[in-house]
Amino acid sequence: MSHKVMTEDQVVAEIHSGMTVGIGGWGSRRKPMSLVRAILRSDIDDLHIVSYGGPDVGLLCAAGKVRKVTYGFVSLDSIPLEPHFRAARQAASIDFSELDEGAFYLGLMAAAHRVPFYPTRAGLGSAMLSENPDLRTVVSPYDDHEELVAIPALEMDVALIHMNRADARGNGQFLGPDLYFDDLFAMAGKLTFMSAERLVPTDQFLAEGSVHTIRIPRIHVAGVVEAPMGAHFTECPPDYGRDEEFQREYAATAKDPESWSEFSRHWLELESHEAYRAKIAERVAGITRGGQR
């Protein structure tokens, strides 16, 4: 029987410079941050990132790991503009393909279903189509002959997603309000790696959620990483909410190189996710003590 448990660093060993990497979640919500930080620790670069982007995109841009970003948006939710991504766009230091949020979903679906594109009206008349050399239109073969935008399949070498629970065989469960598009990312990736807050025996999925929450089937998953707090500082309900204070600090330090390098040294240049978790635990304890004074 297949057993797919691995570490963050073993996942990163499967990712090579130049690859297209899809990252699940949505903005600053349920992002596979322990896997993203493992990429930051590696010497991989020249990546094409495909994401409903949040700090995953910002961090990878800031670290110079990115050649191109294909995105539906990039935002920190409670902070509308992701500062590192914004800086990269304004410096034109990265290539990009920006899709309407819904159109991005069609691109994921096309990749998952192995068709070259899905058609939509989204983009007609807007900069999405007129300013994007990657996009083409298609004319309906039926009597209406309507012209539509052909959203290309967002094919990816590797997809990374984060779930609340998973089993060792690669089945995954979300327990929050929204799966987002992680099932499609799992199908779209040639290789999909899933981190999870906790690994549980298969027969324990129903202890915490209805059957409707067991949405990632193992046939699409190559490896599983147990990563408690693996989405930090993005939200991962019901396990934890977004660490807004940490996110504010992240966004504030992005504004000048000196405070950014200090933030980076303190929170990113760590040897493992365990080391990161220990730092987070120390920080929480510090805040609690401070609060009591």
């Binding site: 309407d100 949020e101 159109a103 983009g123 929204d178």
Partner: protein, 251 residues
Amino acid sequence: MTEPATLDEICIAAIADAFRGDGEVLCNPMGAVPVIAGRLARATFEPDLMLTDTIAYAVAGNLPLGGDPADFPVEAYMPFRSIFDQVWSGKRHVVMGASQIDRWGNQNFAAIGPYRKPKAQLLGLRGAPGNLINHATTYWVPNQARSFSPSVDVVSGPGYDKAAELGRSARFFEIRRVVTNLGVYDFDTPDHSMRLRSIHPGVDIDQVLEATPFEITIPDDPPTSRVPDAEDLRLIREVFDPDGVRKGEFR
């Protein structure tokens, strides 16, 4: 005695009126003033609207801004994937902001300066391209002088001139209203260029013209925007937004 309506409340009533006649659609306002407006429209004259808690559920009842949706009955599960399905079905009316908007309703909240290398990256295109081409859109512009522009740097949401070029593909296109701090605008003119529909109480026509750097249709005797009544004001002040979050949107 009810304190007289203030500008924020007049804008809320004006946006609410944009939903008049919509019936059973997903009303999807973004921002505090539009969210209050959508909830006010449902509470007072458009009872069949569906509204989300802005997370993943459509909820019934008068949910306050920042209120706990768990206290209200869920009508439908609407995660983001379902929201896009609603967009494409057409049964949706959205309210979005605009950093720039021109006389044809072309809207930009993506970036200032050239799209490929902007001077200032803003929100990006977000859902605007899909929204405009699929269903009704209303714009909320809290600072008309800043946002009304002779042209837009990036077209996030296309306007009527772009829609005209698309012919049949734009058959679901509609910009219902543009509501600003000075007045209410629509595109009910022969060439679908912008028209002043009503002017807010206390605003004079010179202020409108000064804050409009393009040709615009002004009726001879423009009507005054509706002033919300005592029940509207009670709902806004006591039910939907007791903390006055709406006032922070005017900058």
